[in-house]
Symmetry: C3
Subunit: 232 residues, 3 copies
């Protein structure tokens, strides 16, 4: 009743959940902040990254969250988070893996979000919006829970651009009558490639900025307390 | 089916979305923190402020988000965010515009939230609650995404009071049989006026506190790490 | 229609809301951070802690939020928050009360979340997940709104473990055909006892870590800006 036209195949959905879980746990394992995460904290981030995109999508669409209709989603996300923790210990340098998985995961969540929204009859613009929220929502939850600056607001604007471009390609292909599977594959590919190219060609920029920021942080205690209200 | 009794007219809803988008982009453009926002970050905040109130309202009411049923909401929010960015460049001092728009926007979102909740049959107290959440929810999302202290918890308590008073007036007028349009206009007016008066008469207080806080911040590194647990 | 099999009795639900409200206001009253909360801020945290668990549960389950179907929930949460503020002034050392109430409240919200999810037909694993989210969700909202590190990610992992264990006991007892009331009481007891034991036996550990962290914070300005990306 909820999804009359199109159901994302369980294996595809679980693949995205699993990759998200691995990526989240890898990311959280590598975290060196003021407060280290314990093992359960790492697992929670893995589960948030695996489940978050789908939950946000279904809450925006006002349908039963698909990720809560079967035991498999949470089991997959949890096992994936454990795998991610092990991988983080095995590999000395996991950054390339984190970035690559991340690009693929935002592509998958974006494509699933947009296609489910289109299947439920949403117009093209909000369908793309739902896709982008699915793609970046897990990362926003992760950053908020870890106390990090929200990535898509700063260095990560490329996230939103990459996710938006992929969702747009999917929605336009669908509007022109392309089969949904082909449209979704094209959408995932566009998002992943844009995101990877962005990382590869910007790879030195964020660190320079980070150095600059570190200095500013020392001088000002680093908290963004200054609000526009106090300035104009 | 979802809103049998009352539908907020599209033009009114889009006006609130547009004003919220302009206000959000103006606010974000003026932001001088540790990490400046790029252009896309400013646009995201504009969209969050334009769309956030309506999304939170409809998720609390468990209905299809009205803002996702038509292309116009996102297009309006996006264009409004672009207008807000341009205005931020044109005017040297936009603070009065930001504060004025903000007062009007929380009035509009509060009135729409309360009247939709009443139309769906909610009792008066939760209807006011939904209105207040619609009014202040966009700002909470904005602050969390920008890494700012959540305004309604600190200097911005007046937000919640102003929004609550306007929603109360609307709900009471409705309960006494006043036409919903008149009730809504009264609610918006009450919220806007209270908020503006609060800003005008408190205008020097926040800055003094801000100075004081800056010093405290330097001494303590400025992070609220002390939890009640560690104190009693 | 939404809850065909099981309705949480209003008095039980209101008890959880009231205890949550008292606990939230006690917690917020004791807060000594960079920015003190004003009275309304304390009340907002009380309401968030009283209402948050139920709202998150019902949004995950895609049903009308029970807390918005009657005036009593918000009135109870608000009055409880006022009581919490008064108690904070009366008692010199409220920490034991805060911790004890907190253990009971996460037990109650976890049990209500899991049993409502099971009554709506969710499989056992997502039903436990909904219970855990109900139990810890209010605290996450509180921490985000107060600008604190999210407790369940750090010292508070024991939260999630305690909540999960109680929800698991409830769900397993229910699966073996135990009456839901008995299962729920067992679940609440397990969560509360685990959480209290964890606090009692770990009581010196967090402070040592806190001292260490304080020093680190001074050296680095204390903001977790280092992301894994910048490290590998």
């Amino acid at each position: 009743m909820d999804e009359p036209l199109f159901v994302i195949p369980l294996w595809a959905d679980l693949t995205a959940v699993g990759l998200g879980g691995v990526q989240g746990a890898l990311f959280a394992s590598g975290f060196r902040g003021q407060r280290r995460l314990d093992l359960l904290g790492v697992a929670i981030i893995g589960i948030v990254m695996g489940m978050g995109g789908g939950l946000i999508r279904d809450m925006l669409l006002n349908v039963q969250p698909a990720t809560l209709q079967s035991n498999w989603y949470l089991l997959t996300a949890t096992i994936a988070a454990l795998v991610g923790m092990l991988l983080a210990g095995v590999f000395a340098r996991v950054n390339a893996v984190i970035v690559g998985l991340d690009a693929l995961v935002i592509g998958l969540f974006g494509a699933f979000g947009t296609s489910k929204a289109l299947a439920l009859g949403l117009p093209i613009v909000p369908a793309i919006f739902v896709g982008v929220c699915s793609a970046v929502g897990g990362g926003i939850l992760r950053d908020v829970m870890m106390g990090l600056p929200v990535a898509i607001m700063h260095v990560g604007s490329l996230y939103a651009v990459a996710a938006g471009a992929g969702c747009l390609v999917l929605a336009v292909a669908d509007a022109f009558g392309a089969p949904i599977i082909a449209s979704a594959i094209a959408g995932v590919a566009v998002t992943t490639v844009i995101r990877l190219l962005a990382v590869i060609f910007d790879v030195s920029l964020p660190e320079q900025r980070a150095l600059h920021r570190r200095k500013v942080a020392v001088e000002t205690t680093g908290i963004p307390v200054v609000r526009p209200d106090a300035e104009a």
